[in-house]
Subunit: 339 residues, 4 copies
């Protein structure tokens, strides 16, 4: 199996490193427009055969089975379309593309060409998220009431994407993976503190058909780094604090059981409280990207469907696009099926 | 100075205790409809002269200078109006009333009768909030960019008020006190997980004329207790964690300085980062309610205007009412001047 | 059942309050040499019949069944001896007395007079310590390897007792309760930073016959407050952090399993590591002193033996006395059976 | 400047990496007895000219200016002596050697040969420790009363050194660097929970001529990882928590001021308390080993004396040897000038 990694900026080296570790996988190419970046490849990864600034060279090489794309998001569609047209399997850095249309187009094309199309939503492959998914699927959490995410820090202000496109793909992918229901609409508010700049703080809400709902706080202007997700269920509640070195996941045997109550009485409690033990399950420590790269190769070899496949990627792009539209309409609720 | 405390549920005993400690102040009456509650007064506060279920008795007593009302919110207006009509100075538990109209009516009446009207927004009198106010007023924080508040825990589901009316008055009062700008509009989303119940999770956003904005997360269904406010300014940033025993306030000498940048370059940084020392100022440990009760008496004696006066209370009620209206209109932005 | 509380300083009011709450128990007397302290009793506890500065009055009153002593430690023996001689059941504030001899004498006297003699080691009655005891007794922790305690804060420098006599009784009592083995010897070091003063920082080690051992750090001069006990066992390990509001007890399914290894190989691992889940059991939130006072009354009524009986109290005093002797001999190991 | 790194186990790669980054420095050799380790050098560090299992080859190469030794401690003396004899400058991994005699011998030899002899006490070069040193030297902390260190985790049981020789060099080096006084004696206790094994838990105390003293807790059998040093001074107190991502150093404006008091009065406070602001200074984030390697090269080039020179290394070895002797004599205080 021969792989090419396209884009050697922040994330590219991680892809090269993890694909290099996999047995039976060769990283034949690393491609980037910036020659100075490529110069670093040979010393760090002497196993990489060829570095090139010419993407076409990779497309033309029949030995290349799969391409991993880690370039800025506005180039994803063009590079991906060409890769699928050339018959390559594809792993695209998240977010998949910058429009719903182009994301959908890639899904169709992958079907047409019968190629694996996977989006690099790395968080799904962490020990922590896999554990949450396992708990939810086993019915331990019960019905999910809410999903609340905070991802804030003093971050790099970017000028090609706003804070939602930068940070929300992580949390939206976790939500989509964990909650087995269809989101219906999205609203978002955000502001920029840079003149004519993109939003650097934003809040996003995702609504479902029932009362389940999800909320996201994204902020490049926070003095402290917070990476926390709370999931409230009818049976148990989960707090996932990614800043903890150990005990990232805490499962609380706490909750409420509601029962009918008269509205006439003041301060009457309608619910029964339950607080019990908390436990922090042991998590698989394998690097998420390693698990993911192996999954990508497995999907190609065994013909299975990736966890974060093209359709999954489309859902995330839809919510991002809806959030964008909502901000522009002052927080108006945008139906996802309208996109 | 003779004071009466009306309502002896959760908060009433704290009012009695704190007024009892003040020199020159007598708690002449404690009033509650529930006789069994009054029975506890005499053993705990032998200094209280009279306990009564008859509010009129207090109104009729010319010796009573001031009344503190700590009853459920739907009774605030009626009790307050009568008190002001009877010429008493008034301290009302927050939120002031349950409608903007009634809150405004009390402000007018207090003016008419030349009585002190104060709303019991206790948080304003904590050492922590007073320190934040002091820092902001001294220009140490710079221009305030955002105010983010999280107030969540496994809380009592109430059936006369939703989670916004229960929890938001705290944080809205802090925001109003600290940010010396006029909020323009409010949007909010919330859900109830109890059939036909009131919202138990809600998110609220307050918009200002400029890019300043504030966000609030309120939740009765969280497995962990969080009470945290972040304030981002152009010069410094503040994190106020009320769950810390010490070091409740942390001031970060961190921030960004923005400067014009070209949008053509990808990933170009438009901002300059600054991270410096953090410090946690020593805070006054006096019980907030004690400081507040003293302030109330001072306002009466010296004829000064309370920090949390009637107008202040009206602003909070306006935002609560706007939030309510917004939830009912699916998160629509509600202008405060429309109320 | 009629009870008298002797000593109304820091701890006395807690005893009065908790005994007052117990059904079938009357606090007939509160006694203190300081009249001004007694003046506060009547307003706070109108249920107390008599306040007195005359201890003899209590001894002479045949109605009094039991006496609780909460005076400075140097008066414990004299007051206790008189109480037992007068046929009263006895609860003594920890440490029991200031010498091993006097503590032993009280045990003998209580036996002779057939009275209940209990020492107020309150920590044993907390939900946290009871849970640890339960886990240990159920064999969940396995063999206990070590017990490490840190109890430090910016504390009141006292001039009748040093930091060991002030703070160590808490942790020594927990150790004695939890570890079902006989300690053999004690060593301690400590210094005073006040000229001619008593030690304000000390470290104490308790040795057992096998390799189990316990260590204690006590410090009145720490900028932060730490109250933490770690217990390492062959099966599981426990961390008890008393500064946590919730999750005070964490049980780690971590440990090592040792097996023979050759010493010839460098860096060879002799042990197998195991890290698994952590869990924080729900704890009983009842106030410890309430549980303890009820236990004291139960022991009198039902003729059962107190958990923290006289013999228990003697063991603690022995270790304190040994620690004192060790400090004076520069950390020399002092055998407990030599005292 | 040409450097050779000897020993390519856990620490060696870090030395190679950091020396490789320094301008004007070539890592000419990497030496290890294990050929399989050397095989990894070329791919990771293609800049390294020669890998060898023959130490003599390095000694014989006149181009090699300096040798860094990162082998197990029992080989330090032999390798170091040969290096100095061959006229090479020397950086030895801590602890310097395993006996006081051999450490002293190296100091003499370095003087004789006029070579730089430096011990790799990396912690001294961290931003955190440099900041503490700066505060102490500027008189901000005042007179140092105590130094308390806890360094515990579930660690690798080693069978060539016990937990003291493994962990204490870090904290003893920080203490020695920060406290500008001469330690006088050492006592230590420790136990092994492995049959015939080396101590895996130990407590160590260092005494000074005055009342300053230092205490160290080292433990390979702790379920949680703690890396914390508290330094109490007459003016301020410092808590250095190395497990914090940010705010590793907290400086507390807290303390006590002692004054004469009568011993006759019970519970009389002899001291005045002061609690003020806390602040967490910004720390230099440069990798400590990088700073250290640069310092080593500077010392060679400019003829200056290393912060952690041979004499410094000897002091640490002396305390380790004294601790060992103390454990064998059941915690007896061992004078350092007796070694």
């Amino acid at each position: 199996m021969k792989v090419a990694v396209v884009g050697y900026g922040y994330w590219g080296p991680n892809l090269v490193r993890n694909f290099s570790w996999l047995e039976g996988v060769d990283v034949k190419y690393v491609c980037d427009l910036d020659r100075s970046r490529l110069d670093k490849v040979s010393s760090l990864f002497p196993n990489v055969s060829i570095t090139t600034t010419e993407y076409q060279q990779i497309l033309d090489d029949p030995e290349v089975d799969a391409i991993a794309i880690a370039t800025p998001v506005n180039s994803h569609f063009q590079l991906s379309e060409a890769a699928l047209q050339a018959g390559k399997h594809l792993l695209i850095e998240k977010p998949m593309t910058d429009t719903v249309e182009s994301a959908n187009r890639l899904v169709e094309l992958a079907k047409e060409k019968d190629r694996v199309l996977m989006v690099d939503h790395t968080f799904l492959y962490t020990g922590a998220v896999r554990k949450i998914k396992e708990l939810v699927d086993a019915g331990k959490i019960g019905e999910i009431y809410y999903f609340d995410s905070v991802r804030v820090n003093l971050g790099l202000f970017q000028n090609d994407v706003n804070v939602i496109w930068d940070l929300a793909p992580h949390d939206l992918s976790i939500m989509t993976y964990v909650i087995d229901k269809k989101p219906v609409s999205v609203s978002a508010v955000g502001v920029s503190h840079v003149k004519d700049g993109l939003e650097n703080i934003a809040y996003l809400t995702v609504f479902y058909e029932d009362t389940t709902f999800a909320h996201f706080h994204m902020n490049w202007l926070s003095p402290i780094k917070v990476r926390q997700i709370m999931i409230g269920g009818s049976k148990k509640m989960v707090v996932y604090n990614d800043m903890e070195n150990t005990e990232k996941i805490k499962v609380y045997d706490s909750g409420v059981e509601t029962k009918p109550g008269s509205k006439d009485e003041l301060y009457q409690t309608l619910v029964q409280y339950r607080t019990g033990d908390m436990y922090a399950p042991k998590l698989d420590q394998t690097e998420a990207l390693r698990t993911e790269c192996r999954h990508f190769i497995d999907c190609i070899v065994k013909g299975i469907r990736p966890i974060s496949d093209g359709e999954f990627g489309v859902q995330i792009v839809k919510m991002l696009a809806a959030a964008q539209a909502s901000i522009e309409q002052q927080g108006k609720k945008i139906r996802l099926d309208s996109l």
